[in-house]
Symmetry: D2
Subunit: 134 residues, 4 copies
């Protein structure tokens, strides 16, 4: 993709911790939101993908925290596809606040698995998803 | 039951909010922990119950917050069965800190539903569970 | 208020549980979002209120769960002021999905406390907030 | 340290997602629990550290997810100190289930900051903490 997808989230009160900033685990949820909105905007609903028997569990996550975010701030989550392999896709993220300060960045790799088997074996990305993400 | 079941949880950092205390939503998780440990200690694993096709979703919750709890405090969750109906069970909770201060109390009613039907219709509590909880 | 305030939230993946529906604790967050957006739309930022030394911790919550909500559904949170006392305010909530099905309802009472004292003693609602919520 | 610190956590219901497994964001909380228990067992309470004006916000996290964990499973979190610099400490994690299956591994770097300044500037690790972690 030429330009990253943009999604906005507003920080919830319960997402802060006693340091007065967003607790670091929440960025994984903001990024998850980012990639499902990216997929939805491309015409591929992750909810439908699961109904078709494909799951995309996270296999690897690398996160960098650059600055703190605070309650009620609006964060801009920029998501782009970093790469695809036969049975995985990797997304890249940049989260800024509205003042333009870089808050967090990340790289998250998702495996594609067959939800219809007990062992959830890796399976090739569905052709349609692959083509939409290209 | 003559005596409430006791379960201890230690407050996690991410469970606090910027007011410096446990965020109120977490007490629902502590209480959920309390009742699943009560059931497990009586010999009925909730995980197995679900594998047998029974679910116990929450239908009603009443919570009172009496005092704040803080990071790293150990909370004592006292759980007892308040009552049962054909297709529901109600638990009662008292949460204290180790100094004996009352932190939160609650009453939570769970419906018993059939997980094997799409609509998850109410269904009688399994006889074994009913007898264990009596 | 003549008409309840409306706020929309989209269910996140991590807010579901293994029953395939939104975990019941998350509704407390959706309702918290609802009342802070109501206050913000009336011109009173809860973040500023805290900076001025006032906190609104939850003292009591009553929740009813009517139907399940699912991943990626948009929920409409209707919030209204049910009543005020000298040092507390009570909000009422109705959450529907976009098809109009009632998902959850609740009543949540918040104490008004002085964040600048160690004991966080109850304190009268700031006059401006009281007048905005009337 | 010659041997990693061990801490056990039991998976909560609300920590699962609709894929029927632990949602990936929760491992950051399990690891946070691991390092605060390690510190406490060495005689250094993180709660006290904050009261003394030192904070340890997460600056970087690398996570690998090897296998799924399930509701009610007990997970063994092994934490060790990977290294220290003037104003940061890096922990390493291995999470197994009780059957010995490797579930997740991670490396998390924490900055040491001065909580008493508005900007929370980096500051040298307190000597006592540095010596305990060595």
């Amino acid at each position: 993709m030429s330009k990253p997808h943009e999604h906005r989230v507003r920080v919830r009160y319960g997402e802060t911790d006693q340091m007065g900033v967003v607790h670091h685990a929440n960025y994984l949820s903001y990024m998850e939101d980012g990639r499902t909105r990216l997929m939805a905007d491309l015409g591929c609903s992750y909810a439908e993908l699961e109904r078709d028997g494909f799951g995309l569990p996270v296999r690897r996550a690398e996160l960098r925290y650059w600055a703190a975010a605070h309650y009620d701030e609006v964060l801009v989550v920029r998501t782009s596809v970093k790469g695809m392999r036969a049975a995985s896709v990797t997304f890249e993220y940049e989260i800024h606040n509205e003042a333009g300060t870089r808050i967090a960045t990340g790289v998250i790799e998702l495996a594609c698995v067959n939800l219809k088997t007990e062992e959830r074996k890796p399976v090739a990305l569905p052709a349609e998803l692959r083509s939409l993400l290209s």
